[in-house]
Amino acid sequence: MSDVVERTLSALPGLLGQHDPGAGPGGAGGPGRVSASSRLGSLIRSITALTSKHEEEKLIQQELTSLKATVSAPTTTLRLMKECMVRLIYCEMLGYESSFGYIHAIKLAQQGNLLEKRVGYLAVSLFLHENHELLLLLVNTVVKDLQSTNLVEVCMALTVVSQIFPREMIPAVLPLIEDKLQHSKEIIRRKAVQALYKFYLIAPNQVQHIHDKFRKALCDRDAGVMAASLHIYLQMIKENSSGYKDLTGSFVTILKQVVGGKLSADFNYHSVPAPWLQIQLLRILGLLGKDDPRTSELMYDVLDESLRRAEINHNITYAILFECVQTIYTIYPKSELLEKAAKCIGKFVLSPKINLKYLGLKALTYVIQQDPNLALQHQMTIIECLDHPDPIIKRETLELLYRITNGQNVIVIVQKMLDYLKESKDEYAIINLVGKIAELAEKYAPNNEWFIQTMNAVFSVGGDVVHSDIPNNFLRLLAEGFDDGEEDLQLRMYAVQSYLALLEEEDKLYPQKFLQVMSWVLGEYFSLVTDVDPEVILTKLHSLLKKTFVTSETKTWIMAAVTKIASHTSCSKTVDELVQELSSSLDTCLRQYAFELKHLCEDKALMKSLLPFDASCTDLVVDASLSFLDGFVAEGLAHGAAPYKPHHQRQEEKLSQEKALNFEPYGLSFASSVSSSGVTGRQSPTGLSFGSDTSGNSAETGHKETNTLKLEGVRKLWGKEGYLPKKETKTGKGKEPQAVPCGSLLAGQVGEPPALQPDPAASLSEEDKEKQQLASTLFVGLGSSAGVSLMGKPDTATQKFKRKSKINETQQLSEEASDLQNSAASDFGPLLDTVPINMEDSEGSMHTRLRKASPCSSDNVEDNLAFETPQSLRKSMLDDRLSANRLSQSSLFADSNIEIFQPSPSAQCESASETPLVPSLPEELEELPHSEVVGLCQSDALALHLCKVWTDDSLLLIVFVSNKTTSALCAVNLVFEETEHFQILESATSQFPVIEAQSVEHCQKGMRMNKVCTQAILSGSVGYQSEMETRLEFSVTLSLMDFIRPMEMTTEDFGKLWLSLSNDVKQNIKMSSCQDSFSAALDTLQQKLKLHRVDIIGNEGILACQLLPSVPCLLHCRTHSGMLALWFRSPCAALPDGLLYQCQRVMEES
């Protein structure tokens, strides 16, 4: 009945709407044109005909009500339901909530025929989000459809899976989707890969075991499937580029074929072959070639070809060019390519098309650090862009300028940034830009006045959205000062003066953070300004306190300043007044301050000692153990008070009382409470006591401590020398811009098109001259070093405000303090004396550490690593690679006429060269389980072999060093590098004073795994003294299984332990035919993974193992219909994942 009413209702506006001439879809009907007389059509038309939002709302509500009735009516047919869903989607799109229909969308996907199912799936993917609870109801439908024989159903299921799927249900569909990778239809294979990509994104460890299947997909004969697999590879390589270096050859070959037009013409887009594919590959190559000369070597040719081939004037070729340029500048540089890429950037920058210009700027910004001369070439364009009406171009230009800032152009650049800042309203842009200005100002400020003024602008424009680092850094800079004491005073004085001037304006509203900065500075340094009466300052602060826009946090800052000022003045009327007022304030914090101030004022001597002048940088020694309370405590105990129990102890006691009810372990909370109480050292009830009675200074120190911690994250892009070109340019035709002669400026543009080269003397219009002027100020100090010395300023970047080493001190102190407290419990007195010494030491080490982290040396380290990994991986990857190559030969593009790429030469060079000296294990180790002795590396003089011995409590690495020469080798030194994954027991080095000719020595190292990973590389080097220092590098792959040992226990123990463990992982894996019986499967696990079989009951089994030294991991398995359900539990979160991976591996192997 209601249906009929609804029909008439919705038909009415439809009739009205038909008068609208544009409403019906005119023209010939394509395959998808639907008659507009449908109900959806009428709904849409009536909505278009409406004039007010209110009417629309009314109509939609009406529509929703009728829809609600229809969908929940049991008589509604699926066909009608489908039509309802489409209308619901439409309502949702207009922004109206229609959650009542969600469940019906799922039902429709489940029950409908193809057409209805498709709408159902679409509605689900539009309505629900990943964490929606209803999504679980979809899983069964998906599983059913995946098993369907109808291709379209399978397709739809795969599509929905790759868009939206609950993470915890992945195991339910994973095996089905894996099967689809072998499907005969390309589209199914491609969608399966897509679904796996989705899984990889949301749960990478669940698809760990199918990495070799990705390789197969990469070699698929259909280019679409291959392209889909590239998404996965891009993601994986982003996370770990070193693991996939061996695939570089394949990617290069694929790109070569694509660029060469060997793909079917279907993939052409505006006659460019598969541009999306190309760009994907270029990105992958960029990641692989980064800082790796050897890998980069492989790609130079194909990059060159890509640049050459992309010549048609179309957006898509520009997109490819842009990507090429980025890749070229990312990988290990090659001068020819760089030159070509630079030319390419020129094309972008000089293009009249605004989109291309923007990309050109973006590319310039990217490459400018490597090649600042490019900025010089395009300086005029950059200047034009600076005043471009389109904000995005302006912003990108500023970003570019930010990267070329130095001591000489900072004033102009910061001015430009401030101008932009004042126009900008977008909060995100403001935060970003303000941070940059502050950074530049700090680094390159030419003088005090400018610095303070700039920071004032930053604070007042940036307002309260600025990152809290900025005011904190600024204050620290003021407080700690620089090398020159006189300068410091000047700076502080100027700051005080400028703030006083700012506060002069009565009714101006300043951001809170700015007020805080002001009050701190005034409180700290007011006395530097001698011509102003402190009373005046106090009055100003007082009036601020009365303002309503000042937040209570800012008020406490102001109070702190007042207290500090008051300590240096004799009786002040303002202070008395203020104390009077605030003593009755509703804000408890302020009231407390007021009382403190009152009491301090009564005892000036105490006040002076508490608040010494300019002491913000002196470190307070805090007696964190509260030893001064010892007498009080002793007295209390003597009077029969209960001794203090720390938090965790109390909790434990409470637990033991409740034991009968406690089923779940409290392991975690116990651990955290231990660590938190560890900080307080002697378990004092109040924690760190920062002399809570001193107000001003201690509060600041507290602040600063948290600030210094954050400092570590601040990027230090710039070295001390500021921005200097790496090498002399070959085209150094006087590209150094000068402030004085216009001629030389233009000479700098020799290589550019004539359009930009007017006669320098005659035809320069006023405007041009202005621009030239701007250019000369902007790009000063950028060219070759010769230009710089011409300017008479050899040091380009006079880094004015160097942070003193003190920065880390406060943090150090706190670390130190907590360390000390732990050990100081017994005798506190003498240790206190050692504090300064310790501090200095650790400060020193901190600095060396910091220095080590400077970019150049870290590059070196990376280079080394990059050199090593291919070698070390070669062995382990050999098998994989061979199989991959074999595969590719047979199947890669087998149906098209593409030449097949050969296995890369490096794969074959692994020829086993036997040494005459074959080492053997010493007898006492021979009996223990051990691996074969394998060669690690060798040179003319030395050969290294390795054997792993699995003892009960560690992994022993036995390294044999054989001397192949005919003379003795002296001072052979073997060093393992520290890694985060492994811990080397005893020391990481071994010394052999002498190794006789033709003999073998060995050393052994006990290893433990610190951070769980399936496998990781331990590298090291061996060096010896000959005429020159000779080093030989090697690396060893250690897998998780090297550190897993069986763990013996009874079933009862297992049960108890099981309940107490919190991290669990479940997964179903397929059993292969040969392990059809459950016990056979368990045998495999037991033998290959060194698990201890605790018990088997029916079709369930429990196994246990431990990660050395003693991290348990328990496994419960169960079989049902050919699947083995594994359930791991362990206290260590990463361990179950690692073991699961191993299980999948061995089960697949066997």
């Binding site: 394509g30 639907v34 507009a36 025929n113 989000h129 990943e130 379209v152 589209i187 679409g224 389109d390």
Partner: protein, 153 residues
């Protein structure tokens, strides 16, 4: 690609597809904001806009705006071509596509989009194959004879 929006010159939303999970309220706010930003831009400016930490890439086809949100390191030009390719696909499917086709057959537009972009990544670069996939499933419907003789829709 974080999301794709299609809206008319009057600011009416025609299609929305989200590849990141956001609460509904947030989505509505974002849509309002973006539609306003883009409609207020004049024709001569570039096709890119900074928006929060993302970038909007948009293009206008007749009366319809296509807008994608991408990350900073993504390729803007390429995204522009993604939009263009999508329009081409629509055009091929509908045959000389116009805004009305998309308004009245928005579910078809969604199907095509899903064939083309999945999870924010372009998945099929071959126009023929994408359209074929859609037509194939349409054909199957026809064999069910559902599609032809159903006047109720």
């Amino acid at each position: 690609i974080h999301f794709i929006l299609l809206f008319s010159r009057q600011g009416k939303l025609r299609l929305q597809k989200w590849y990141t999970t956001l609460p509904d309220k947030e989505k509505k706010k974002i849509i309002r904001e973006i539609v306003q930003i883009i409609l207020s831009r004049n024709q001569k400016t570039s096709s890119f806009v900074d928006w929060k930490d993302l970038k909007l890439v948009y293009k206008r086809y007749a009366s319809l705006y296509f807008c994608c949100a991408i990350e900073d390191q993504d390729n803007e030009l390429l995204t522009l071509e993604v939009v263009h390719r999508y329009v081409e696909l629509l055009d091929r499917y509908f045959g000389n596509v116009c805004e009305l086709d998309i308004i009245f057959n928005f579910e078809k537009a969604y199907f095509i989009l899903d064939e083309f972009i999945i999870g924010g990544e372009v998945q099929e670069t071959s126009k023929k194959i994408a359209v074929k996939a859609i037509e194939e499933s349409d054909m199957l419907q026809e064999t069910v004879e559902e599609y032809m003789n159903k006047p109720a829709f």
